[in-house]
């Protein structure tokens, strides 16, 4: 962990117009929650549908994608990362630091709004709010690790990440139950199910499968990103 890199990364992340993008989705989620609450349709079932489909299914992967690739992709694209690389700093430290910043952003922009939306809609009923809040944090963190790795590997990280989230998790995961075992979203649902009241949230992947997979995915992606950053070839305009 390097505080100088963390400070620069954070400023680049929330300082630009991207911050508006980061705020838009949580604001929609909270607005929806308030509207449902005011109109009186915010029961346990509706809360579960909104938190599961919109918060965990859309907000978390999208923010994970924007933030995870955003903490490193633009710097690699415009070449300014050279100022970090031309330093006696381990590449693993650079990646880890950027991941910490990304997870912090996901906590603020995805996990906390999910928790808040849950509290607004369901109160403390059946542990839904806390369950989805923790699920969003854990899922968001792993999305960040995976998408940060994509940001190091390819300049088309956002496209590849979207394809993964849309095709694999939503489409294929929707029809092929087996694909769900290898889906960050389903792992997050599994965590949510464990934190919430027993039986409140159904999960396809069991916790003792989901937790090791979450850990392996996060650690492997971070390690590989650092490994590839060691050999990142800087291209010039020449």
């Amino acid at each position: 962990m390097n505080t100088t890199i963390a400070a620069i990364t954070l400023r680049a992340m929330v300082g630009r117009r991207r911050a508006v993008l980061l705020l838009a989705m949580p604001v929609i989620l909270l607005g929806l929650a308030v509207a449902l609450r005011l109109t009186g349709v915010a029961g346990v079932g509706t809360s579960r549908a909104v938190l599961g489909a919109f918060a965990l299914g859309t907000l978390v992967p999208l923010l994970g994608l924007i933030i995870g690739t955003g903490v490193i992709g633009p710097e690699i694209d415009d070449g300014s990362i050279v100022y970090l690389l031309a330093k006696p700093v381990s590449r693993f430290v650079i990646v880890f630091t950027k991941l910490v910043v990304a997870v912090g952003c996901v906590a603020v922009f995805a996990a906390v709004p999910t928790l808040a939306a849950g509290l607004i809609m369901a109160g403390d009923r059946r542990g839904l709010a806390l369950g989805y809040g923790v699920g969003a944090l854990v899922g968001g963190a792993v999305y960040c690790a995976v998408f940060l790795m994509l940001g190091v590997l390819t300049r088309h990280a956002v496209v590849v990440g979207l394809l993964y989230a849309l095709l694999w998790e939503s489409l294929i995961g929707g029809y092929v139950p087996g694909a769900r075992t290898l889906s960050v979203r389903q792992w997050a649902v599994s965590v949510t199910s464990a934190v919430a009241e027993h039986g409140a949230v159904p999960a396809d992947v069991r916790l003792r499968v989901a937790v090791p997979l979450l850990l392996v995915a996060a650690v492997a992606a971070t390690w590989y990103a650092g490994w590839r950053l060691r050999s990142l070839a800087l291209t010039s305009d020449e």
């Binding site: 100088t4 300014s80 100022y83 006696p88 700093v89 010039s236």
Partner: protein, 305 residues
């Protein structure tokens, strides 16, 4: 005192060979890396800076391999060609961040010293995106100097600078060299390199074409065969007189240009001969124009020789 050693290094990207079997040693003082655009200068600098792995051969700094060795950055300062910096920072914040990333004991003092060296303290509290190209170049230089490196690598530092900024940078680079640092900068302009570098390495099409002080390089470039286009009051008579002398190898009447195309092999002798012949034969010279003075033709001659 640090020495960069490149031994039989090549670098290819797919089918394109950017650097082809180059060996050179860069020692203290200012070295200019001269070559036309696309000659592989940037690739060489990236190899020396540890940002590219050589496909073959080795690049070492004081005997230690540069690739996958982040410790070399304690001794190397790099001024990249690309413009992008952390534009939302001020000059001071940017330089200080670079000092902190080096883990210096007193980063504030180091940043202050570096900004003073490049004379940028007056604008250090402005954001980088408000800087002119020359100011950015100087802050990039400050960032490269914060840790007082023994080696300084500059990729096309003069690109896009106005004459005043150029003079300032020339002075700065000379000072760095005089301090005993190993300074290497790339450029495609001979005059630029001549003014600053005590030693010149020429690369053309990925190959090491020539090496020496600027006098040696200049001589190589001047002593090559030259082609002149000449128009006179009587081209045919001038042609006969020119070919009679040993300083020309061929004379052609170019009907399309309506001029003489003269291949001179002995430049020094030819430039004295031409006016003398014209006077002796009472010919009037309307045009004497070197027709192959493009850098590429100069450089390609160097490669061939």
């Amino acid at each position: 005192m640090s020495v960069i050693s490149i031994e039989r290094a090549s670098r290819w990207f797919g089918n394109v060979v950017a650097v082809n079997d180059v060996s050179m040693t860069i020692g203290p003082g200012v070295t200019g890396l001269l070559g036309p655009n696309g000659a592989g200068k940037s690739t060489l600098i990236h190899l020396m800076g540890g940002f590219l792995a050589p496909s073959a051969g080795t690049v070492t700094l004081d005997g230690a391999l540069v690739w996958h060795n982040v410790d070399v950055y304690r001794r190397v300062g790099l001024v990249p060609e690309r413009e992008a910096m952390y534009d939302f920072l001020t000059g001071w914040q940017f330089t200080l961040a670079n000092a902190r990333l080096h883990g210096l004991a007193d980063p504030e003092a180091a940043a202050t010293r570096a900004l003073q060296t490049v004379e940028m303290t007056f604008a250090q509290d402005r954001r980088l995106d408000t800087y002119s190209k020359g100011m950015k170049q100087r802050v990039k230089m400050a960032a490269a100097l914060v840790h007082d490196p023994a080696v300084l690598l500059l990729d096309e530092p003069f690109n896009g600078m106005d004459p005043r900024q150029r003079l300032h940078l020339i002075d700065l680079i000379r000072r760095m060299g005089a301090d005993g640092r190993t300074v290497l900068f790339s450029s495609h302009i001979l005059e630029e390199v001549e003014q600053v570098a005590s030693h010149i390495e020429v690369v053309v099409a990925g190959r090491h074409a020539a090496s020496g002080d600027f006098r040696a390089i200049r001589r190589l470039m001047i002593d090559r065969p030259h082609v002149f286009l000449i128009r006179s009051s009587d081209d045919r008579r001038l042609a006969a007189a020119l070919i009679a002398d040993g300083s020309t190898a061929a004379v052609e009447l170019d009907g399309r240009e309506r001029a003489l195309r003269v291949h001179a092999v002995d430049f020094q002798r030819f430039v004295l001969l031409l006016p003398r012949l014209a006077r002796e034969h009472r010919l009037r010279l309307y045009m004497v124009s070197p027709s192959d003075e493009s850098l590429e033709s100069v450089f390609s001659y160097l490669v061939a020789s």
